[in-house]
Amino acid sequence: MAVFIQTVVAGILMGGIYALVGIGMTLIMGVMKIINLAHGQLMMVAMYITYVLYEYLHLDPYVALLVTMPALFVLGSLLQRYLLNPLIKVESILPENQVLMTVGIGMVLTELARLIFHSDYKSVRPPYTSMSLYAGSIAFNLPMVIAFGIAVLLTIGLFIFLLKTDVGKSVRATAQNKEAALLLGVNAERITVFTYGLGAALVAAAGTLLLPIYYLFPDLGGAFTLKAFVITILGGLGSTVGAIVGGVVLGVSESLGATYISMALKDAVGMVIFLLVLIFLPGGLKRLTKI
C-alpha cells in the first residue's frame, strides 16, 4: 500500500509540471487551431538556457525562471509573427501547413542545440536536489515539491490573467470565435502572437522546473512534444482546466505504469490512454465537464 501511495504522490507531483506543459499547448491550440509540434523543443531551449545560467553564472534554476520565461516568450512571439502567421494567407493543398511548419521549427531548434551543446547528457544539480520531505513513510522529493508549488502558482496566475484582464479576455474571445472577436475590435493577429509567446513561456517554466530532477539532451524535445499532445487531447483541445486534469492523469498513470508494468513501457501507457481517448471520448474530458 505504501508503494502505491508513494507512486501516486510521485505521479501527482510530476503531473503538476505536465500540466504546465499541457496548458501552454492547449492555449496555442485553442487560439490558433494548430497542433504545436515544436512545443517540447521550446521546452528544451528553456532548459539549455537554465543550464547555461547555472553552469556559468551559478544562477539557481528557480531564479532562472525570471530569465527563461521572458526569453521564451520573445522567441515564441517571433516564431508566430514571422514563420506561422504568414502561412495563413498562403493557398496550399494541405491545410496542415502550419503544423508542418512547427515540425520544421522543432527540427531546427533541436539541431541548433546539438550544434552548440553536442549530444551528451547534461544536468543541473543544486545541493538540494536529493533532499526529501517525509510525511509518515511517504517521501516527497524536495525539488519536485517546489516545482509542483510553482506550477500551481503559475497556473493560478494564468487563470486570473485569462479571467480578469482585457488581454486575457481577448485571448479567450479569439479562441471561442475568431471572426466575432475580430468584429468586436480584437486584433486577432496580435493575440495569436501573444498567445504563442505565452504558451512558450509556460512550457519554459515547466522545463526550468524540471531540470533539477531530470537530465537534458537535444532530442528530449520530441518526447515532451508527444507528452504535451497526449495531455491536451486527454483534457480536450483548448480547455485549460482539462489540461491540468490531463497532466495529472498522465503523471499518475505513467508513474503507476513504471511501478507496476515496466519501466520500458512507461511511455506506452500514455500513448494507449491517448488512443483510447481519441476513439472513445473524442473531445477529451472537456466533453464530460463542459468547462
Binding site: I34, I35, L83, P86, L87, V90, E91, S92, I93, L94, P95, E96, N97, V99, L100, M101, V103, G104, I105, M107, V108, T110, E111, L112, R114, L115, D219, G222, L226, F229, V230, I233, S262, A264, L265, D267, A268, M271, V272, F274, L275, L278, I279, P282
Partner: protein, 328 residues
C-alpha cells in the same frame, strides 16, 4: 508539372545506365538510399497528398516490412528475401487495422492518432524481446557483395511504386481520393464511401512502404526498433520529403527524396571532404531550414510551385502563370 513521355524515357535510361558509368560504391549507395526514400515519400504522398490524410506514422509500415523480412530469417529460418514477398501484404494488413481505428478521426486528430500508433509499435518492438530481439535488433549477412543487384532492385521498386500511383490516380479511385481530400462531406454526399476509399489508399500506401522496409532489411542487413520505427527519422522525414518536392504531385516526393538524401550527404561529408570538418554537424539543420523556407515561400513544394519558380527565373513574368496547373 506533367513530364512528357520522352522525359520519362530519359530518366529511366539514365537510371539504368548510372551504376555502369559511375563505378563508385559510394555514389551507388547514395542512389539506393534516395530510391528507398522515393518509395517511402511517394507512398506517403498517396495517402496524405492525394487523399488528404496526413499520416505521421509511416514508420509503422516501414518497420513492419523490415521486421517481416528480418523475422523470416531469424524465426522461420528462411531467406530474408521472402520478406520482399510478405512485407508488403503484411504491412497492408496492419494498415487496414490501423485505418479501421484511425480513419474515424479527421484532420489533425488523425495525424495525432498515427503518431500515437507509431510510438506504440516502436515501444512494442523494443520491449517484445523474445520476438524482435529488442534493442539488439536483427543482424543478417548481406546476400551480395556488389551493390548492383540492390541498385536495380531498388530502382524497380521505385518505378513500380511511381507507376502504380500514377495508374491509381488516373483510375476512378484517384478521383475519389481527391474528392475526399477536397471535401470529405461533399464526397460522401455524392455517394463516395469515404472510409472505404481512405482504407484503399492506405492499403496501397502501406504496401509500398512495407516493401521498402523489407528491402531495407535485406540491403542494410541490420535493423533495430529505433531505426525502422523512428518517428523523427522515418515518419517525419517521409512528410518532409513530400513537402519539399510537393504534395499531391507525382514527381514531387521523388524529387524531394533526392534533395533530402544528397543535401544531407553533402553536408555530412563536409562537401565531400572539401569543406571544414564542422560542416558535417550541420546536415540535419540545413535540411530543416530548407523545409521552413519551402513551406514559407513554396507552399506546394518545388514541383507543385514549379510555374511560380520558373516565373521568378525568367523575365517573361505572367506568360507562364496562365498555364499554372496543380498536380499531374
Amino acid at each position: 508539372m506533367k513530364a512528357p513521355r520522352w522525359h520519362i524515357v530519359v530518366i529511366v535510361a539514365a537510371a539504368l545506365a548510372f551504376p555502369l558509368i559511375v563505378r563508385s560504391d559510394y555514389y551507388v549507395h547514395m542512389f539506393i538510399l534516395a530510391l528507398l526514400w522515393v518509395v517511402i515519400g511517394s507512398s506517403w504522398n498517396l495517402l496524405a497528398g492525394y487523399t488528404g490524410q496526413v499520416s505521421f506514422g509511416h514508420a509503422i509500415f516501414f518497420g513492419i516490412g523490415a521486421y517481416t523480412a528480418g523475422l523470416c530469417a531469424t524465426k522461420l529460418g528462411i531467406s530474408a528475401w521472402w520478406g520482399m514477398l510478405l512485407g508488403g501484404p503484411i504491412a497492408s494488413l496492419i494498415g487496414l487495422v490501423i485505418g479501421w481505428i484511425c480513419f474515424r478521426l479527421r484532420g489533425p486528430y488523425f495525424a495525432l492518432a498515427t503518431i500515437a500508433v507509431g510510438e506504440i509499435f516502436r515501444l512494442a518492438a523494443v520491449v517484445w524481446r523474445s520476438l524482435t530481439g529488442g534493442m539488439q535488433g536483427i543482424l543478417l549477412m548481406q546476400s551480395f557483395r556488389s551493390k548492383l543487384p540492390y541498385y536495380y532492385l531498388a530502382l524497380a521498386i521505385a518505378f513500380g511504386c511511381i507507376y502504380a500511383i500514377h495508374r491509381v490516380m488516373r483510375s476512378k479511385w484517384g478521383y475519389y481520393f481527391i474528392a475526399i481530400r477536397e471535401d470529405q462531406d461533399a464526397a460522401e454526399s455524392m455517394g463516395v464511401n469515404a472510409f472505404r476509399y481512405k482504407s484503399l489508399s492506405l492499403v496501397v500506401s502501406s504496401f509500398f512502404t512495407g516493401l521498402a522496409g523489407a528491402f531495407y532489411m535485406n540491403y542494410m542487413a541490420f535493423i533495430d526498433p529505433e531505426v525502422v520505427f523512428s518517428l523523427h527519422h522515418i515518419s517525419i522525414m517521409a512528410i518532409l520529403v513530400g513537402i519539399i518536392g510537393g504534395v499531391g504531385t507525382l514527381w514531387g516526393p521523388p524529387l524531394g527524396a533526392f534533395i533530402m538524401v544528397f543535401l544531407q550527404e553533402t553536408f555530412r561529408s563536409s562537401f565531400f571532404g572539401l569543406g571544414p570538418r564542422w560542416v558535417s554537424e550541420l546536415h540535419v539543420l540545413v535540411f530543416g531550414l530548407l523545409v521552413i523556407f519551402v513551406i514559407l515561400y513554396m507552399a506546394n513544394g518545388i514541383v507543385g510551385d514549379w510555374d511560380k519558380i520558373r516565373r521568378l527565373g525568367s523575365s517573361k513574368a505572367g506568360a507562364a502563370s496562365a498555364s499554372a496547373g496543380k498536380g499531374s
